[in-house]
């Protein structure tokens, strides 16, 4: 067992092995019956996380099934098709893992994953995830408040923004294509990053986060479009100037720095008024006749984050 797993409360004893074995067997049976095989490999290897406290304000909607949330992903480093990341997840090497923290802070450094996770109690938060492509999921994440992590690096008064970078490993199958300017970059204003809803996830569905969902640690910013929630983070920088962000660099008129979920502001090529909720609860013909649902301002977190954007023209700062 790795140290950081124990520190983070990830169990790996005989009990887990037994559970893993049973789950694997049940899944193989189910998968064979359903004629699918893509899902078993990654799930069977996932480690369970515990103990986890439950956050009081979790979304109460029907949760997306784990299978859907771990097989339908946008993670271009692992391929551009939604099914590519799960197929290529084993190419993402997360052990060892270290994170560089630099910029406008008094406690910078290079930290191992163990260092990062050590002091944090793990919490489960169920958040809505709204992709800019007008689909959404409801996912139980396991992790801790981003603010609790960032405060440890003692950002100074020049730290107006925080930027993040994803692993830049040219061997990853999707990185041979120049579809984005690697490494993948994201950023938040410091008050957004310190907002209690901003979350650093190391797990989902009570298990270690799988590669296709951004192992070993990823951001979850529930009131923003999904691409703001950067995966597989290797660098955190505090900056005075607004950092560059990957989708904004690729198409500035389509993807703004803020990227808050806003049904009133259309993407230039499609409407953001509605979204298709992917829950995985329907099958066969009935799956083809599900209605889209209305998208909510700030993905339904409008009250909580209103203070961040008071006096801002959200059509201009989209």
């Amino acid at each position: 067992m790795k140290d950081w797993m124990r520190i983070a409360g990830i169990t790996s004893s005989e009990i887990t092995d037994e559970q893993t074995f049973r789950r694997r067997r049940a899944l193989i049976q189910a998968a064979t019956a359903a004629g699918m095989t893509g899902f078993i490999g990654t799930d069977a290897m996932a480690k369970e996380i515990g103990p986890i406290s439950k956050w009081a304000d979790s979304a109460t909607e029907k949760q997306t099934t784990e299978e859907i949330a771990t097989t339908y992903n946008n993670f271009y480093e692992l391929g551009t098709d939604k099914g590519d990341p799960v197929k290529n997840a084993d190419k993402l090497i997360t052990d060892p893992w270290s994170v560089v923290v630099d910029g406008e802070c008094d406690a910078p450094g290079t930290f191992t994953l163990e260092d990062i996770l050590k002091p944090h109690a793990i919490e489960e938060r169920v958040y809505r995830l709204r992709c800019v492509e007008a689909w959404s999921m409801v996912i139980p994440w396991n992790g801790f408040a981003l603010a609790d992590l960032l405060k440890r690096f003692k950002p100074n008064s020049n730290a107006k923004y925080v930027s993040f970078e994803t692993l830049n490993d040219p061997d990853l199958p999707g990185m041979k294509s120049r579809v984005l300017d690697w490494p993948y970059r994201e950023g938040l204003r410091i008050d957004e990053a310190m907002h209690p809803l901003s979350f650093m996830a190391i797990g989902m569905y009570g298990k270690e986060i799988p590669g296709q969902n951004g192992a070993p640690m990823r951001l979850v910013v529930p009131w923003k479009y999904g691409y703001k929630s950067i995966k597989s983070i290797v660098r955190i920088s505090f900056t005075e100037k607004q950092p560059q962000t990957s989708w904004n660099m690729s198409a500035p008129h389509e993807y703004g720095f803020y990227s808050n979920v806003n049904p009133e502001v259309s993407h230039p090529r499609w409407s953001q008024a509605k979204e298709r909720r992917l829950a995985g609860e329907t099958s066969g013909l009935s799956a083809l006749f599900t209605k889209k649902i209305d998208s909510q301002f700030m993905n339904g977190y409008g009250e909580e984050v209103a203070e961040l954007y008071a006096d801002m023209d959200l059509k201009k700062f989209f």
């Binding site: 004629g35 083809l288 209605k291």
Partner: protein, 181 residues
């Protein structure tokens, strides 16, 4: 043979092989096959000229109608399943969203071509049939633009279709331009 993708699609629906977002999968699947078969129909005349055999032209109508069949499936997936026949939303999409506008233009062009594809109509229209059916090139260009404009991120696949289309167009242009010696 061109009905195989449709057979697979029906099989996939009932066996839950379409993944997390089946409506999106069907939309993409029918759209890609519509475009492939449309380009195949444009390849029939060049094929005849290259092979110097008559069979590509005999197949041309059937290939064209199959393309239209997949276009119909593609459009009805969008209108019926994705938009749930919300007419005002569909009209707004056609007006506001350039990629939907060009896609719809392609469809509108293809309707009269499908309707006049019979031998009887060919005879009745005579020379005008030829010029009417040259509109298929406009529809093909609109279809490829539709694909390029709707793609987010990786443009490789749309560019492959664009390259094939440009190749086919160049072939025809070369034929139409009278050689000056």
């Amino acid at each position: 043979m061109l009905s195989l993708p449709f057979v697979y699609l029906v099989y996939a629906v009932f066996n839950n092989l379409l993944g997390a977002n089946p409506i999106e999968t069907i939309t993409q699947f029918t759209g890609e096959w519509a475009l492939r078969i449309l380009l195949l129909s444009l390849a029939m005349t060049p094929l005849r000229m290259v092979l110097k055999k008559p069979w590509p032209i005999r197949l041309r109508r059937m290939v064209g109608l199959f393309a239209f069949f997949y276009v119909l499936l593609h459009l009805s997936t969008y209108a019926l399943l994705d938009q749930q026949l919300d007419v005002s939303a569909i009209v707004a999409d056609i007006i506001d969203r350039p990629y939907i506008t060009v896609g719809f233009v392609a469809f509108v062009i293809l309707v009269p071509l499908a309707l006049t594809s019979t031998k009887g109509m060919m005879k009745r229209l005579g020379k005008r049939w030829q010029s009417l059916h040259k509109m298929v090139y406009v529809a093909a260009v609109a279809s490829v633009i539709h694909y390029v404009w709707l793609t987010r991120g990786d443009q490789l696949e749309p560019m492959v279709y664009l390259a094939v289309l440009v190749g086919l167009l160049l072939f025809r242009v070369k034929k139409f331009v009278p050689r000056t010696a």
